[in-house]
Symmetry: none
Subunit: 416 residues, 2 copies
């Protein structure tokens, strides 16, 4: 049995763009985890007729309709009157909700007002989902074997209600099919190139499996999703496909699921008790910022130099003036010396250095904007590579940073 789920997010702020709808993505992921698939997401404003029409439309297509938003205490929150009209019921006062609201406000040392009182009124035919975390109760309706759930729009209240009240009821009501997914993180290729390499792989995939390409600057995620009766079988199936991918594109795979390069590197260094420093020119602190974004990074990251000016390159990093004059700051010679000197100066096991032309100005015919030299250095080896990124400053900085972290990952995981 295919169960169709639609999400309806309600709120003027979503249609004006003042608020990004993050509830939908969260709910979709959570529904996936219990074997339910969202087939459509609709955002409508706090206008009664718009809410009524999307409910009528969704009812024709879906078995489950989950709404968020419009349950707040202010006059623009119109979801409850709309639900009353849709289900032909009326608002009734629920003493237990009122008591809960009183106690919540008491904790915040606030006095209850008329607006709060109205939050204790709910549609008579609704089953009330008690909201521990806020004043707006969740509502559960059934009509012709279809389920309508109305949740508050505040993300942490919505999440609490979904996890504790809604998901368990779904699992009880439906004997749901199992879903399993795993994300493969790749770096160093492009969507079209990967798609070509993986054409046969995709053609040969089991029918119950899907592959999605999720590109972002410097990183392409490949997501395998599979559905079936037996979770263990699905896991084995995905594992088999991942083994295939590791044979097809080993050079591009850098991790799985939520891994980031900075976390992968951090784990290796932490396990080995080794240390890292950086010498950044065009990335201007971005690499250090990514590394130190990871909790616990002070265990392996000592710090570094942002050598944005040539003066700092010579005075603090001891790069010989003749190298800068003969080869330029964006050169193999300078970037390798930056890495080696950083490693020695900060007394670390590894170092990363970058020197490039982020743009928009500073490019020449031989070294156009985007030209970037990156080096990684250990006690036994110093590797450097030249890259030509694009002409967008922000993306050049991001791509140089991710590429540098990946070169370090490769150096750390090299045999020998």
């Amino acid at each position: 049995m295919q169960i169709n789920v639609e999400l309806v997010t309600i709120g003027n702020e979503l249609l004006s763009g003042n608020t990004t709808d993050t509830n939908s993505a969260w709910l979709s992921q959570q529904l996936n985890l219990i074997g339910l698939q969202v087939s459509r997401i609709t955002s409508v404003p706090d206008i009664k007729k718009d809410i009524l029409s999307i409910l009528a439309e969704s009812e024709n297509r879906a078995d489950i309709i989950i709404m968020t938003g419009g349950l707040g205490p202010t006059s623009d929150d119109i979801t409850k009157p709309a639900l009353c009209e849709f289900f032909n019921t009326k608002l009734v006062f629920r003493a237990e909700i009122f008591t809960h609201i009183e106690s919540l406000l008491f904790k915040k040392q606030l006095k209850i007002n008329e607006y709060n009182k109205m939050q204790a009124e709910v549609p008579e035919s609704a089953l009330v989902l008690h909201n521990d975390l806020g004043t707006a109760a969740g509502l559960w309706f059934e009509k012709n074997n279809k389920f309508f759930i109305s949740l508050p729009g505040v993300p942490f209240e919505m999440k609490g209600l979904f996890i504790n009240k809604v998901a368990p009821k779904f699992q009880e009501l439906f004997s749901l099919q199992a879903v399993y997914s795993k994300t493969i993180i790749t770096h160093g290729s492009f969507e079209a190139q990967l798609a070509e390499t993986l054409k046969d792989f995709e053609d040969e995939m089991p029918e119950n499996m899907m592959l999605a390409y999720l590109p972002s600057p410097g990183i392409i995620r490949l997501r395998l999703v599979t559905t079936g009766d037996d979770l263990e079988e699905l896991k084995a199936e995905v594992k088999g496909q991942i083994n295939k991918l590791q044979e097809l594109i080993p050079e591009y795979i850098i991790g799985f699921n939520e891994d980031t390069l900075e976390e992968i590197i951090g784990k290796i260094l932490m396990d080995r008790g080794q240390s890292l420093s950086v010498a950044e020119s065009c990335t201007g602190g971005k690499i250090a910022s990514l590394i130190t974004g990871v909790a616990g990074s002070s265990k392996y990251f000592k710090g570094g130099i942002i050598a944005y000016s040539n003066e700092i390159k010579t005075d603090q990093l001891a790069i010989e003036k003749s190298l800068l004059e003969n080869f330029g700051a964006v050169s193999k010679q300078v970037v390798e010396n930056m890495a080696i000197n950083s490693r020695l100066l900060f007394n670390t096991d590894y170092s990363i250095s970058v020197s490039g032309i982020a743009g928009p100005s500073g490019g020449t015919k031989e070294k156009p904007v985007g030209t970037t030299w990156i080096a990684v250095s250990s006690k036994s080896a110093t590797n450097s590579h030249e890259f030509r990124f694009g002409d967008n400053r922000e993306r050049n900085i991001t791509r140089a940073s991710i590429t540098a972290l990946n070169l370090l990952r490769k150096l750390l995981t090299e045999p020998g």
Copy 2:
């Protein structure tokens, strides 16, 4: 004339929750700015029949339908075949798109493949919107005086096409009511506090004007939007309101519109021909990264030290060991010395230093997680302040960085 706009975002990743739909909020804001209001947003998967049904439904309700996504080079991208079916047309090869794709790939030193070639095929009846920033062309269709626009899902490509191609066409086609908006950027207050201070201001605002609060870590943007017949009148109206705000909350206003602190600081330093360096501990390169995100920052930013370990603080920044032992790394004494030594070492006019406990570990009873000392230094003054941010590492780093930049802004703009 009321013009109805609907957005349709297409992609399995939106329905699985792997990707949050940020395109819709951005488009809604941009449409607002040219006087158009979005009445519904729908996300559908990369399934032809789903795309066809939402197009048929939207056509009945809206005058303009803007789609994003599904134009990529891989087999799951199904938007173009769906559009061909909907508009009863066929895919044709466009040599000028192919040439553009070739030149884009050539710049990245990549060879063109079958998938890239397919991106040069577009529905015959579509007007092609040339995409400078990527390989997927935008498409513009007209049918019974309704407009259908299909844009790539990659945000920066979609944004480029919307700003440069779509918005100007809308402004030309419709005689839109003038809309004028200005954003006031504030730092140092909280949403509820600002809302209370500005209650009377809001009540007295002209009826055609709206005020929105747009909070993000460390920064609250106040957006004034006004609509009317005469743009010059609207500008004068907004100017009057901003004058009022400058009297009501002068201490919180740090800039306008898209200004960022790092740009404001950059402009001042650039104009004066002065220079800046940083010494970062807990912010780990974030401040330098923000500063160097600004094009042209090499004119005034020389670089700095990421002194994540105490060893680097003593060895490279010449912080006396006794200071670290007696007061700790997170102290007025250490952070002021970091700023002064950074300024002297790198020979700059100004410097910023930060030392704090970003968390989640490292806190003590006296100095809990979030405790942060920030100093700014010039040749004539060194100011330092202690802050207690929260318990979230990521937000602590962001707030410390923004607060540090704002302290420098204040030092730069101080009289005398």
